[in-house]
Amino acid sequence: MSIKLSRRQILAGTVASSTLALAPFGPAFAQADSIVVTSYGGVWEEAIRDLFVADFEARTGGTAEIQIGGPPQWMSQIEASLDNPPIDVLVNTIDLALVAGRTGLVEKIDRSKLKNIDNIPDRFIDAVQGWGVIFDYGSAGIAYHKERVTNPPSSIKAMIDGALAGEYVLSLPGISYAPTPQMLIWSLADALGGSVDNVDPAFEALKKLQEANAVIFYGGATEFLNHLEAGEAELGIYWDGRTWSHFSTGAEWIGYINPEEGGVMNPVVVQKVVNSSDAAWEYIDSMLAPGPQLGFAEKVQYGVTNSEVVYPDWLKERITPWEDTRWPPFEAIGEAIPAWVDRWNREIGA
């Protein structure tokens, strides 16, 4: 028996089989009964899955799929399909959260749909102008190698002076690391007498450090730890939570100091994407609930924002109270970033 196929049949079959073959790789568009949420990788993803997603699924019976990545990538995905966004809940940095609000990617917080919002201090909503809510924060202070630096500096200014005096080499965030404008450029300017409108003191200090071969730059968070372990640097500006997480894995040589000027506040914002499922509000409510927030803090060792959360003693010692941190002018920094990056490239190097 022979089977005769027409050109049309063969072409139709080819296209259909190609489509079927590619179907599993298609984007996971958000659906009403199943939402897509976002997370950074590593321990963050574990914590999001075990705490917030678990709480949301247990309460609502819905499902939440986690998409791992970073805010610039997620925002590009949403921009590309605004009517049918592939993401329902966006985890964001504060500068990009403000951009997302201004460009219509996210909705304003609806207090009537979030029963845990009343336990979140207003500052954590006002800082984002209502385009989301801060659920977690880190603080950038001084992390150091305890065996190599016996007398660590107590302030950012003392840290720069010590490095220029040849006491140690610093590992500082480079311009390819997204939080650098806040955690380094503004922080240095602020500590050395400048401001968001005058970052000359920061750039002058960085140039002096370079000339003295007293600084190296890291492009990703893990690289800082490599610099200290490999002996390339002795101390630098780093996150409290990441320092303590590393300490907890057995690296007892690492220490952390909240500088006299105050660590730099680095909030993490959660936002509801426009045209996304209403179930996104339920998920955001899980992210603001005291139980899951405490579990999250214990796992990632960063501060959380629900005022009902009571940290155990071991964790309380490690988390920098948000009242003791410096809050950068996020919106003004967001506007200044392109000029700062351009200046950094010309004066410091990529």
């Binding site: 072409l11 296209v15 610039p72 990009l96 390819s176 190296i216």
Partner: protein, 300 residues
């Protein structure tokens, strides 16, 4: 005779008619449609989107603005023009070093190594490719650090009194890239060298050519295809390399891939990043064109 011809013609036309109705003939070029669809969906469409994005207003537009503002910023600002130059020079230097290092290794493998040694060298060339590039780059960080193996070794031998700044330098970047890319060059050259008829070289020697002249006049021209393939592979990969520069460069070298990442990750100036991506692509295509021309001329 004419009757036989007519019969043959009839047979031929019958066979032709049968062939014409065969399914695969019916398809014509239909079998390449899935590939074309994939190409259109995942290459042409994104490229079109990137091209269109590059014409939008950037976050730091040059005075005057205009449709081509991002390209004006790249080509008229001496800093960014210098970055384009640095990208090309780095790729050329890495390609040249890979050729100079890779050719002798490939030649030794094909001409002098026993079968066992040949396989062993192949294993040592391929094994590192199975390790993620980031792990290999971190390895260089450990070796080149101030308290790394090299500095510690030199200091223990009293050859230096204080650690050398080996990491975060152009030398570290070139070392890292050559380490990652040399296998592509060696394997490309070796595969072509092994196909060269040894009798051609022997004939040249018998006709009085020296070893050097035989190599220059016979072996090298015949191996240009492999050398060219290796050079194109290494150049393209070096041109777009990013992780090695980020981890070993420490800002000492500024190339387009680094700046593209920065514009996407830190500045979120997507139009400027898109313009840089288009320039990087055009740069790679122009270099590919000249390399192919050069190889064809040398190989001819």
């Amino acid at each position: 005779m004419s009757g036989k011809n007519a019969e043959l013609e009839t047979m031929a036309s019958t066979i032709g008619a049968r062939a014409a109705v065969r399914p695969w003939r019916l398809m014509g070029f239909g079998y390449i449609i899935p590939s074309l669809l994939l190409l259109a969906a995942f290459f042409i469409a994104p490229l079109w989107f990137v091209g269109e994005m590059s014409l939008r207003e950037g976050r730091l537009p040059p005075p005057g603005g205009g449709l081509w503002q991002n390209y004006e910023r790249l080509f008229l600002d001496s800093f960014y023009f210098g970055v384009i130059g640095e990208t090309v020079v780095l790729s050329l230097v890495v390609t040249l070093i890979c050729i100079l290092m890779g050719y002798p290794v490939a030649y030794f493998m094909v001409r002098h190594a026993s079968a066992r040694l040949y396989n062993l060298i192949i294993f040592f060339l391929i094994a590192p490719l199975l390790t993620p590039i980031i792990m290999r780059t971190f390895g260089w960080q450990v070796l080149l650090a101030r308290r790394g193996l090299i500095n510690e070794g030199l200091m223990s031998m009293d050859l230096i009194s204080k650690p050398l700044s080996l990491l975060n330098s152009p030398v570290a970047v070139v070392l890292g890239l050559v380490h990652v890319l040399a296998p592509f060059m060696i394997l490309s050259i070796a595969s072509v060298l092994s196909g060269i008829d040894r009798r051609l070289e022997e004939s040249a020697r018998m006709l009085g050519a020296s070893r050097g002249k035989t190599f220059l006049k016979i072996t090298l021209p015949l191996s240009m295809d492999g050398l060219g393939t290796g050079a194109i592979l290494v150049f393209m990969l070096a041109n777009g390399s990013f992780v090695t520069l980020l981890l070993l460069g420490g800002g000492s070298l500024q190339t387009l891939p680094l700046l593209i990442y920065q514009q996407f990750n830190t500045t979120r100036d997507l139009p400027f990043a898109a313009a840089m991506s288009i320039v990087l692509l055009v740069l790679a295509l122009v270099c590919l064109f000249f390399q192919l021309r050069l190889i064809r001329r040398k190989g001819a």
